[in-house]
């Protein structure tokens, strides 16, 4: 198990978070105070965004060709989800970050180092699917060794669970935080205010990055027809929670804002509510056709243009990468197609756990932490 590599941020970064919430509303964008990201980081970010997009497009193709029953995923959110995954303190136990994700989070997992083939396996519901053994839909991962809590279909429930992992993290000390994410429409569920209340109890504030990826849709229902609040992030204000609404279509901006929020949460041990404006590029799911939407901003295209203009990447190089990843994913999907389905006789497996897996993991991480004087 890796130990946390986190170094506390300089104090000024946490203060910067304070400034803008009062003075200029919740909107946060890159300012001159944000150092330009190193070209290598931008190249890495692009690489992951491209791979994440191509993975989703492969999953959509698989579903359409009958190699899966249902597709749901996050194409259009890469500019937010990739920086998020890059900034996660990945590991097992309370001294690392916990992730309560939802069904549009594949880019975050890729950025954390997940093998894209595993997403294909879940799409094909084969026994080798490491997330659920062929039990759950595509886009519903579970990775205990990285604190990725099982993604489940009921909207918003993750916001009620997040305070629990964060409570354990606060008690343990260290810099581990809890990250919870979900969509805009889901914030109408009671679990959302549950998260606001439970993470801001006076004296018991919790280290949670509360994310809402706002694509302005809940399936077919436009957000504006159901929600009177100007900004979803405004809802945090009543609880004294630092809130921000950011342009999640710009990966550089996302990186800076997520980093700033995380630094604050890691050191202050208090929550931040971050609303990221994102696109939904293939509609809601396979149930609504999963076809590319021309009208919405495509963060990958915009970013590639920017990188070309700045001379960081060439079109030829991008085309080459695209062709390479497309081929790799196609080959992988063909291999996955041959893998075995789970046996019907296994349905009773794991109804009950035989051992306290999470308890043993906690004891192990405590021992490691003590060993290094945490």
């Amino acid at each position: 198990m890796s130990t946390s590599s986190y170094q506390p941020a300089p104090r000024s970064d946490a203060e910067a978070l304070d400034d803008t919430t009062e003075k200029s509303g919740n909107e946060r964008n890159v300012t001159s105070a944000d150092a330009a990201l190193a070209p290598e980081l931008l190249v890495r970010m692009h690489d992951l965004m491209l791979k994440a997009r191509l993975l989703e497009e492969r999953l959509i193709r698989m579903q359409k060709q009958g190699d899966g029953y249902f597709w749901i995923g996050g194409p259009g959110e890469e500019a937010f989800n990739v920086p998020l995954g890059m900034l996660v303190d990945r590991g097992e136990g309370v001294f690392h970050d916990y992730l309560h994700l939802h069904y549009r989070s594949s880019a975050t997992l890729l950025a954390m180092g997940a093998d894209p083939v595993d997403a294909l396996r879940q799409m094909k519901n084969v026994a080798s699917d490491p997330y659920s053994g062929g039990r759950n839909f595509a886009g519903h991962p579970s990775i205990r060794k990285w604190n990725v809590v099982p993604v489940s279909s009921p909207i918003e429930v993750q916001y009620s669970m997040a305070p629990g992992t964060a409570y354990a993290q606060k008690r343990a000390g260290g810099h581990g935080i809890t990250i919870v994410t979900g969509g805009d429409a889901g914030t109408a569920e009671g679990d959302f205010p549950t998260c606001l209340v439970w993470t801001s109890r006076p004296g018991h504030e919790l280290p949670v990055l509360i994310i809402v990826t706002n694509n302005q849709w809940g399936i077919s229902t436009a957000g504006a027809t159901q929600h009177g609040e100007k900004r979803i992030s405004d809802r945090g204000k009543a609880f004294g929670i630092k809130c921000m609404t950011i342009d999640g279509n710009d990966p550089e901006n996302s990186y800076h804002q997520i980093k700033r929020a995380m630094d604050y949460i890691r050191t202050e041990r208090k929550p931040v509510l971050m609303e990221a404006m994102v696109s939904r590029l293939y509609g809601h799911s396979s149930s609504s056709g999963a076809n590319y939407v021309q009208e919405e901003a495509d963060c990958l295209m915009t970013f590639e243009k920017k990188l070309e203009e700045r001379g960081i990447l060439t079109r030829a190089h991008i085309d080459e990468l695209r062709a390479k990843y497309t081929q790799e994913l196609l080959d992988a999907s063909k291999r996955v197609r041959e893998e075995a389905q789970p046996e019907g006789s296994t349905i009773y497996d794991h109804v009950f756990a035989e051992t306290n897996i999470v308890g043993l993991a906690a004891a192990k991480s405590r021992a490691t932490a003590n060993g290094r004087g945490n």
Binding site: S132, S142, P163, T165, D349, I357, V358, G359
Partner: protein, 353 residues
């Protein structure tokens, strides 16, 4: 002679001291009150939560996933209904992740009628609870069982629901049913572990030295051996059925009473052995009768013991109405009463095919 609520409190204390309990929490669970039924007075890990049942269950799940050992209280089971999807989530955590995670938590909550609780302090949850796979479900009928089952619930690596019959919370143990280590004098126990009235800020409990006495999940207890009829029951109905059985002794009717203690996974071995011996079955509980857990026991009995049965298996349960009315007459008409139970026992025992 601990009461059930004192027994639960002592078990939670043992849990904190020796079994790794990290959090006992819920509405009014921490100081100064220590629970509306006093189950959590004086516990060092007890804390008050917001008035939010979804938050309580959700946070318990989060704590469990982070390797903690939480015991969450829902103040009355009547208020657990808006958490059912979260209960399903907890119950499905291991299965849905194909064994990647487990979810070790205890939810304790008072259930049932018998304290003039009217519509919203009288609900049962046994039928609902047994419909949520992945949970173990226990329901004690004595302080000693409450103590031992709570310890087992805490130790279990799975979510366990601890349904406490609220009418029994203040009932004392019968002689011979003490918890080892508790003082013989009940006033002394009260002095040691019941919070004083008035200012409690300086008070600390003096815990008696009680042992790790686990009562295994999944083991029924035969309360009364009998020849003519098997009665399967649990919770508040155990004592009612036992009294009804004793009434019938003078008539020469000999009834066996089994306290199920664990609803899931339940002790079919004990049930089957008894049913095959008496050839007659009556199931008694307070829950509404339609899609009642007793119906499952009867279904299994019919499927596996059909040819030994001498009478139709029968269920006595609560009326299928939205709640228990407050007036005595309404409550008595809604949940099984001793006289009615005795009458049914007599009829079944004397029934000739």
């Amino acid at each position: 002679m601990a009461t059930m609520v004192q027994a639960i409190r002592m078990a939670l204390h043992v849990g904190e001291e020796r079994l790794g309990v990290t959090d006992v929490f819920g509405e009014d669970v921490g100081p100064p009150l220590g629970g509306v039924f006093t189950a959590t007075q004086g516990l060092k890990t007890a804390w008050n939560s917001p008035l939010d049942e979804r938050g309580i269950i959700g946070t318990a799940i989060g704590l469990a996933l982070a390797g903690q050992c939480p015991v969450a209280e829902i103040q009355f089971v009547d208020y657990v209904f808006n958490t059912i999807d979260l209960l399903k989530l907890a119950g499905g955590m291991s299965w849905s992740s194909n064994g990647d995670w487990n979810c070790p938590l205890v939810v304790m909550t008072p259930v049932g009628s018998g304290i003039h609780g009217s519509i919203y302090h009288s609900h049962s949850f046994d039928g609902m609870a047994t419909h949520i796979p992945g949970w173990k479900i226990v329901m004690p009928s004595t302080p000693r069982d409450a103590y031992g089952l709570m310890l087992s619930a805490i130790k279990d690596p799975n979510p366990v629901m601890f349904l406490a019959p609220k009418a029994l919370l203040r009932a004392k143990a019968a002689p011979g049913e003490e918890i080892p280590g508790e003082p013989a004098d009940e006033r002394q126990l009260s002095k040691m572990i019941d919070a004083p009235l008035g200012d409690r800020s300086q008070w600390t409990p003096q815990w008696p030295d009680t042992p790790d006495m686990f009562i295994p999940i999944g083991e029924a207890r035969t309360v009364r051996k009998g020849r003519d009829l098997t009665v399967v029951t649990y919770g508040r109905m155990v004592a009612v059925c036992t009294k009804a059985a004793e009434e019938l002794v003078s008539e020469g009717v000999d009834v066996e009473v089994i306290d199920l203690r664990t609803l899931w996974p339940y002790d079919w071995k004990t049930l089957k052995e008894s049913i095959e011996r008496t050839s007659r079955l009556l199931v008694v509980n307070e829950d509404t009768e339609v899609t009642n857990f007793g119906e499952h026991i009867i279904r299994r009995t019919v499927e596996e013991c059909f040819y030994v049965l001498s009478s139709p298996p029968k269920l006595l349960a609560g009326a299928a109405v939205p709640g228990i009315g407050l007036a005595d007459n309404l409550e008595h008409a809604s949940v099984p009463q001793r006289a009615g139970i005795a009458k049914t026992m007599r009829e079944l025992a004397q029934h000739q095919p």
